[in-house]
Symmetry: C2
Subunit: 363 residues, 2 copies
């Protein structure tokens, strides 16, 4: 079963596109793929396109058999792509293995659920890089500190599944804690350097938990690419580092932070905010963009950081974990003087019971 | 390129076996594979068999092309299988990827070189589990302590390559330190529990180094199976644990310890021994088998361990790191009383400048 390239839109309607693929008529995967062909085609080209799907029977036991051509009429009903939920590594691997054997690239989008448009933008980016997209939904206990919000972290699997299916995700991997950490589990991955400052200092053990669970998810799924949001910029750098260091055969892609109208970075933790807190939260991104502006104008790193912290305090944040300028790659500190990047300004601060983080590029 | 099953020997000679495979006449890999076909066939069936190799040209761009049949005469000269040395992860993956795409299983045998018959027995076992065998040769600096024998560890790549080729290994992966640990390398894997007693206590940091480099080798190569000697029994258990915990998609196989005539476990470090030390070294295995006998006879764990330590001292070992009875899986201690396993008796002791380890099963 191989997918063929479609001609690039736009082109004039109405037209007929011929899709050719080898298909095993007895395979449910292939018959589902055929439905997906029609769906993808409809999304790409709109309803005005008429599609001719040409199926060619292939029989693995007799490669010399003459191909049978059998035209299939294009269904005008809106077709939904198939979407499934799996809960075990074995089921995940069976599905991903089938896709890879048929030559399809697979993308993984690891999430902790409580999905919002930010996550869906990761799915959308993943869809541009692979034929199949898997999203994992797992609230990983080992990356939460003892006084953090593991128990309170928002969960809603049915809604998550609905959002993923609607965004064109093919498979949701939603393992239980026992599937991820079976009895006797005793392995941990740590990354020095990039994981140490900022959230590494503020949340001891956090990045060990992240590094270990992300490595597991990558090795469980075996995707060609994996997409992580730049909203968790330090996490993204830790993951890039460990993937390089451990030679995990996957490409890591960072996706731009999705923002609300006032610039607040989308986060599952925004759900904790009262109306008054929501107002305050919206000022963190303003402090960050102001810091970028000042750095570009030649102001010293030391002064920009102090101004940023003061802005967060004035805005009403009750605790500021950090407001810092860092080198973009290794998150080392560039020193106190004027500096032009490439870098990142990163902030973490608490309002009420909610800890928010955000960051912006200095390019 | 697909290999076909040969009829199972024995059968009457002389006979003609027809091997059919799809082959790309422009591919050096496939032409090497063809030579290997002849070699494997010769090994399996002996010189009396005459072999007809049928090549069928395949052209990926035109699957409808009629197959061309071209008979190839069987060479009577003793054919050696192709053997190659690669030094980069990219080259390793290119070769392993080609084998896997053609449906061949791949086994990895990680070594630190200084090969002896013990290693070759791992290659032999690997060959029963996969069509292709890769051996890595890398003296990993991160698993040696500051006062250990990293610099003195025996090295001899040309001899290693010759032994591997002769044993039917297909590929030697011999990376340099910069390929394994590029600038900025900062990731470490640790396993608690099974890695903590015995060599974990005697060699701080050793198993972190082992866990990290073995994970890298497994992810660099991507084998179906990997073979490790039971001589390093605790290492084998650490690796089994981390492979399960991190979901590395590989089967780990332990191979029985290869022994010299007096029972001394084969080890690259035996090369350090003077003639007198060699005599002493040969008594460690006797102390271990005596301990197994006593346990089976109902003697207490406490007494068996004390007797074992005394036997090593009497034999002439200058320092005994441990002589202990342990549960086979998690290497926890079974307590002081009588005990029947399944377990393992493990010993480590120093003679002159050489530290030797060995172990035996209690079943």
């Amino acid at each position: 079963m191989a997918m063929v390239d479609l001609p690039a839109p736009p082109f004039s309607f109405p037209t007929t596109i011929t899709l050719a693929c080898d298909i095993d008529l007895n395979s449910t995967t292939d018959s589902a793929t055929m439905r997906r062909f029609q769906f993808v085609n409809r999304n790409l080209y709109g309803d005005a396109a008429s599609t001719q799907v040409v199926m060619r029977a292939v029989d693995g036991m007799d490669a010399h058999a003459a191909p049978r051509h059998k035209p299939s009429p294009f269904s005008r009903e809106p077709a939904m792509p198939e979407f499934a939920i799996v809960r075990t590594v074995a089921d995940l691997r069976a599905q991903v293995g089938a896709w890879k054997r048929s030559g399809q690239r697979v993308a993984l989008v690891p999430t902790m659920g409580a999905l919002h448009e930010g996550h869906l933008s990761l799915i959308a980016l993943a869809k541009t890089r692979a034929e199949r997209v898997v999203a994992s939904v797992f609230v990983n206990p080992t990356q939460f500190g003892p006084n953090e919000d593991f128990d309170a972290y928002p969960r809603g699997e049915a809604r998550d599944a609905e959002l993923l299916a609607g965004a064109g995700c093919d498979l949701m991997f939603a393992p239980g804690v026992a599937e991820m950490y079976p009895q006797g589990f005793s392995t941990s991955i740590s990354v020095t350097g990039v994981s140490e400052p900022l959230d590494g200092a503020a949340r001891p053990g956090h990045f060990n938990g992240v590094a270990t669970v992300v490595t597991k998810l990558l090795l469980q799924c075996g995707p060609d690419v994996a997409v992580f949001g730049e909203k968790d910029y330090q996490q993204l750098q830790v993951i890039k580092r460990l993937v390089r260091d451990l030679d995990i055969p996957v490409e890591i892609i960072g996706a731009p932070t999705s923002r609300l109208e006032d610039g607040l970075a989308r986060s599952s933790r925004n759900a904790y905010l009262s109306e008054a807190e929501r107002e305050v939260a919206g000022r963190m991104n303003l402090a960050l963009s102001e810091a970028v502006r000042r750095l570009k104008a030649g102001e010293s790193v030391e002064r920009v950081e102090a101004t940023g912290r003061a802005a967060l305090e004035r805005a009403g944040f009750q605790r500021i974990d950090y407001f810092e300028v860092r080198n973009a790659d290794d998150l080392s500190h560039p020193g106190p003087g004027p500096w032009s990047g490439p870098g990142r300004v990163l902030a973490a601060a608490v309002i009420g019971k909610t800890r928010l983080i955000d960051n912006m590029a200095v390019e």
